[in-house]
């Protein structure tokens, strides 16, 4: 039995932040969960999926990987309006996709606890931006909770369901990477009772948001705000720690940096800290009292000066003359790798050293930071960028497309492993802003330039948000080729299923949707499905597709080798370079650069422990010098 399903309370278990969310939801009696995966949120749905699959008799909630975040939120809204406790999870940029239902779901409200996880990613460990989703609480009017650690995450998730039910409104649970991906001992509570069947009571004047209804609902939302604010004023999650004549206001993971720093600076009796865990609506009265009680206050928050600006407004309104110190424009962050920010900046995540220094400087405390040792005299270090895996079919598709259109074509790309096609020697990624943008931007790029455009999108991303762009392209007579890289899974975020996966392989009872049938149904006239590792045939099919005037689609179908190892294991037969045949053209290295290849004395070699025998290099070697290990020996 998995510890996350343990019925006993009181025990402590080392949990990842994302596992703590799952346990908190189970203790709250979770009945319904939807998601779209994305780092740093993915382990929440992955854990729910795994538990459901391993213990179908013990687990009572319904779970699905939805096609995108908007769908996940809308599906969850249906369940919550019908009275089921519901969890919807996504990464920060996912909430942009779900922003439309979010804004009006705040108007209708829900009839059972509904929690929406938005996992932010300061410093962009694996994201396209580092937007601050605390603004979504302000934009939508939904209450927001910001835990600082895995154990708080578990408690707050549980509390969020109760709060949501009390206010009849969804609650946003906002985390950052360092909270999602931290592990600490978490004390378990009892598992909650699950109400698995809901009832929908028709009330169109509350739920059908035509203007006449929504005018009333907006007033309802404002009342909810007042109620939520009253709760926030007395919430134990908005707590004051320590005492002193100076103050710090902080939230999220920064709470840890601040409290550790005061400990290390020996300043616990000089500086008191207002930790805002229930951070929207702000407890304005509590904040005003805090501001009045100190001589100087420092705001420690990652990303945008959201709390800082609110504090300034409260101080102005109440006529409080306290000095407020926050983000400084004098010290802009330059580079996250080379030089961490020197003072509290708007870019990138904070760290204990930075926060300690900021506190010491603000309050004139005596502090000398331990000096990092000098890196002078170290040799230049080779980079270690992530790379497409040995045998990755994306590499073969990129090779074939480049053979046809060269490097001069424009390559809009999308979000997935294949974004690594950005790196040399492939270098076939020219424009990317969000999921699905490859398809839609291709039309604009082709019309604006008149150049050949080949767009790349993965199978999961295509289902997520490529379909509407493709309909648009067909309808408006755009001219480009779309390559759908169908590796049968959502590889980048950890091999989650999507509508196009072979459900039989996974043993899931979901329904498979065939991409080629779908694409033809959307009205695309030129559609071909290729096997990218059959190089010659692939090149021929791609040539025909790019020669076609209008929208053409090439579906490049081959299982992700990491995924295949799990669902359809087979014996690999590595290849080797036959030394007396190799003339050192190095096409294998210069054109495809598989991590199983290396150079030795100017000639290509293959590491048999890494090679999985995809035979791409063997097909492009002009001397036929690459053969399977057995044949060659």
């Amino acid at each position: 039995m998995d510890r996350l399903l343990s019925p006993t309370s009181g025990k402590r278990h080392l949990l990842l932040g994302n596992e703590a969310i799952v346990r908190g939801a189970l203790e709250a009696g979770l009945a319904f969960a939807t998601c779209y995966p994305g780092t740093p949120s993915s382990e929440v749905p992955d854990t729910l999926y795994r538990l459901k699959k391993q213990y179908p008799d013990k687990v009572q909630y319904y779970f699905e990987y939805s096609t995108n975040e908007k769908v996940a939120l809308e599906c969850g809204a249906g369940a919550a309006v019908a009275g089921l406790r519901t969890l919807v999870t996504m990464k920060h940029v996912g909430l942009n996709v779900a922003a439309d239902p979010l804004m009006t779901l705040a108007y209708t409200g829900v009839n059972a606890g509904m929690v929406i996880l938005t996992a932010d990613d300061p410093s962009l460990f694996s994201s396209q931006n580092e937007q601050d989703n605390r603004f979504y609480a302000r934009l939508s009017g939904m209450p927001m909770l910001e835990p600082s650690s895995p154990s708080e995450l578990k408690e707050m998730t549980k509390y969020a369901f109760d709060l949501s039910e009390e206010l009849k409104t969804p609650v946003l649970l906002r985390t950052t990477t360092r909270v999602n991906h931290a592990r600490e001992p978490v004390t378990f509570g009892r598992l909650g009772k699950v109400k698995t069947t809901g009832e929908f009571v028709k009330a169109p004047m509350n739920y059908v948001t035509v203007p006449a209804v929504s005018r009333n609902l907006h007033l309802r939302l404002l009342k909810v705000y007042d109620q939520a604010q009253a709760i926030s004023e007395r919430s134990p999650w908005n707590r004051i720690v320590g005492r002193g004549r100076w103050g710090i206001v902080t939230s999220g993971v920064s709470v840890n940096y601040v409290l550790d720093a005061l400990d290390e600076l020996g300043a616990k009796n000089q500086v008191k800290v207002l930790c805002l865990g229930q951070s929207w609506p702000l407890p304005e009265k509590k904040i005003a009292r805090f501001l009045k009680s100190v001589e100087k206050v420092l705001v420690v928050e990652e990303l945008e000066p959201v709390l800082e600006n609110a504090l300034r407004a409260i101080a102005q309104e109440k006529g409080i003359g306290v000095e407020i110190v926050g983000k400084s424009r004098k010290h802009p962050a330059k580079s996250v790798d080379i030089e961490p920010p020197k003072f509290l900046s708007r870019a990138f995540e904070y760290n204990p050293r930075l926060v300690r220094q900021a506190i010491a400087k603000t309050f004139g405390l005596d502090y000398t930071a331990p000096k990092p040792v000098s890196t002078k005299g170290l040799p230049p270090l080779p980079g270690r960028p992530p790379n497409l895996c040995p045998g990755c079919p994306h590499r073969a598709t990129y090779y074939a497309v480049k053979e046809v259109v060269g490097s001069e074509a424009i390559f809009p790309t999308d979000i997935g492993c294949y974004t690594l096609g950005l790196l040399p020697p492939i270098q076939m990624a020219d424009f990317l802003i969000c999921m699905g943008s490859s398809v839609s931007s291709a039309g604009g790029l082709a019309r604006a330039t008149g150049k050949k455009v080949v767009a790349f999108i993965g199978d999961s991303t295509f289902f997520h948000s490529g379909i509407t762009g493709l309909v648009n392209a067909v309808h408006n007579n755009h001219n480009f080729t779309l390559v759908i890289l169908d590796n049968g899974t959502t590889a980048m975020t950890g091999h989650q299923p999507h509508p196009g996966v072979d459900t039989a392989k996974l043993g899931d009872s979901t329904t498979h949707i065939d991409i080629e049938t779908l694409v033809r149904g959307l009205g695309v006239q030129h559609v071909t499905t290729i096997k990218p590792l059959k190089t010659r045939a692939a090149i021929k099919a791609i040539q025909e597709a790019v020669d076609y005037q209008g929208v053409s689609v090439v579906i490049s179908r081959e299982l992700c080798p990491l995924f295949a190892r799990r669902v359809a294991p087979k014996r690999y037969r590595p290849f080797r370079v036959v030394e007396d045949k190799c003339k050192g053209h190095l096409d294998c290295i210069n054109k495809v650069a598989c991590p199983a290849m290396y150079l030795e004395d100017g000639k290509a070699r293959i590491n048999p422990n890494l090679c999985i025998g995809c035979a791409l290099c063997a097909q492009i070697c002009p001397e036929n010098a690459i053969l399977p290990v057995k044949e060659a020996s």
Binding site: H181, L259, K371, L378, R384
Partner: protein, 197 residues
């Protein structure tokens, strides 16, 4: 209780996250306050993987520049890359067997003279324990047990509050059954080597 900040660094596939997780579990078992943090994402695709274990009660999940008490590195170039995490008192424990990044393999960049680099490290930090941990993993009968070798060395030299029996218990209960004997052997080999070094 003294706070100890431990940084583990390695390359995707070397088992660095498992090592941090086992240390975290052992700390819980022994009643030592612990916070573990890790960066997921690109680990499977040959990139650098870094994790941190903070023992003794501090709750900040990351270790800043100059603030690692112990740096455990599974690959020598990565030791050099993270040197700025260390200060003059830091204990550096490193595997010396290179795992050349792909950029080196295809001739885009040279692999540096790590021996000279590590000599420099040794002069600047508190202690340097540098050894061919990969050879010990192979001696233990499982080339993938480098993470256990490095854990052994960490327990020999780190002065941790977590006792050896706690980590061995976790290796027994939380690694794959058929690898337990080789994992324990790898741990012991790393421990013995580092203790004598």
């Amino acid at each position: 209780m003294k706070t100890q900040r431990i940084v583990n660094v390695g390359v995707g596939g070397q088992g660095n996250l498992l090592a941090s997780n086992l240390l975290g579990l052992a700390a819980v078992d022994a009643g030592v306050p612990v916070m573990v943090s890790e960066i997921h994402g690109m680990a499977q695709r040959g990139g650098v993987v870094e994790s941190a274990v903070i023992l003794g009660g501090a709750t900040s999940p990351i270790v800043a520049e100059g603030e690692a008490d112990i740096l455990v590195s599974f690959e020598p170039v990565e030791t050099l890359r993270l040197l700025a995490k260390c200060n003059r008192d830091t204990i550096v424990i490193t595997n010396t067997r290179p795992l050349p990044p792909f950029t080196v393999a295809i001739g885009m960049a040279p692999y540096p003279d790590v021996e000279a680099g590590l000599k420099l490290v040794g002069r600047r930090v508190g202690q340097l324990v540098a050894f061919d941990g990969q050879a010990l993993a192979e001696e233990a009968g499982n080339p993938l047990s480098l993470n256990m070798v490095m854990l052994g060395a960490l327990f020999a030299r780190g002065g941790l509050e977590v006792p050896v029996r706690a980590i061995k218990k976790m290796i027994r209960t939380h690694t794959k059954e058929r690898f337990v004997p080789s994992n324990l052997k790898a741990f012991d080999l790393g421990f013995k080597y580092a203790q004598a070094a």
